[in-house]
Assembly symmetry: C2
Homo-oligomer: 165 residues x 2
DNA sequence: CCCTCATTTCACTGATTTGTGAAACCACTG
DNA sequence: CAGTGGTTTCACAAATCAGTGAAATGAGGG
């Protein structure tokens, strides 16, 4: 018996929608998230705007906005296809999440806001100041650990890749 | 010269709004965030619904909804005040952020979604499967490091507290 | 160099979220 | 066991956002 690995397109569709919704809940524009996961789950190296519109059942306009957004974030690059007018959109780096899941920018904003308000509450030795400083320190602590964490992951990943070869 | 530590209420107000907006961008209900930071920056141990409504210039109804939300999250407790009909709302734990900044729940959802779709794309040895598995592994890795990270922070915090005494 | 078709822009629609005012509710006080 | 006043609920208004259709734009291909 030969097992043909067919894709369960239905399930893949569900995955895309599920994750897109999850990301949307966390502030990521919804359509952009749908496009992102559609690209992640695409067997081809990239998809045209048309293919994206079809798979996501969205208008060309919506796709246009989404890929522009993803482009600004650096997640997606557009690639002209020789001999065709349809450009291909592809993920620049399949590990795009490594840069975002850590919310570094968010931490930084919290830290600076907390830092700046310290004077206004009478310094870090007042009751409120202590609380605020503690919050700042927490975020600063987590943030400071992020680079090492990513390094560690990269190292593990490369080790795994080597082991596969 | 004696320096009287007056609070710059204006600046504090700005801080509350700024952080609330930041959190709102990340999916936290806006009014709830405003209440949260109003409580954090309050000199009193807690605030009444009335005081919150005044400081935030919001209706009693909005406050009601926000504190209910914060109560469900366990961030805020309501405390009846003997001799007064006004209940006091206070932060249960000033380090509420330690439980959320890490987004553990988010990671878990990504992990399970990725895990479940693997079969539908032909297993982790297909091109797409490999990508999905890699994403799952990344989030699982980060997630696995969270507890140790929080422990480390707690330890540092307690060491600091001891040093202060 | 024009023509065609992919892509973008723009104005609008529908959905969702957020907050308000007023009435209902409820618990404490006297 | 009322009366008072704080809190919640509810229906609605405002603002925001996402997505569409259609027109405008513009980049190849012939």
């Amino acid at each position: 018996m030969v097992t043909v690995t067919t894709r369960d397109e239905e399930a893949v569709r569900g995955f895309v929608e599920r994750l897109a919704l999850l990301f949307a809940d966390w502030g990521f524009p919804r359509m952009a998230a749908r496009v992102l996961f559609a690209l992640m789950t695409a067997e081809a190296p990239g998809l045209t705007a048309n293919e994206l519109a079809e798979r996501l059942d969205a208008s060309a306009a919506a796709i246009s906005g989404a890929v522009r957004y993803l482009g600004q974030l650096g997640f997606v690059v557009r690639e002209p296809v020789p001999g065709s007018r349809r450009d291909l959109y592809r993920l620049r780096d399949h590990t795009w999440y490594a840069g975002t899941a850590t919310a570094v920018q968010f931490y930084d904003l919290v830290i600076s806001a907390a830092d700046e308000v310290l004077g206004a509450v009478g310094g870090p030795d007042t009751t409120v100041g202590e609380r605020v400083a503690e919050m700042r320190d927490f975020f600063a602590f987590v943030r400071s650990r992020v680079p090492a964490l990513l390094d560690e992951w990269q190292a593990a990943r490369q080790a795994r890749a080597r082991a596969r070869d």
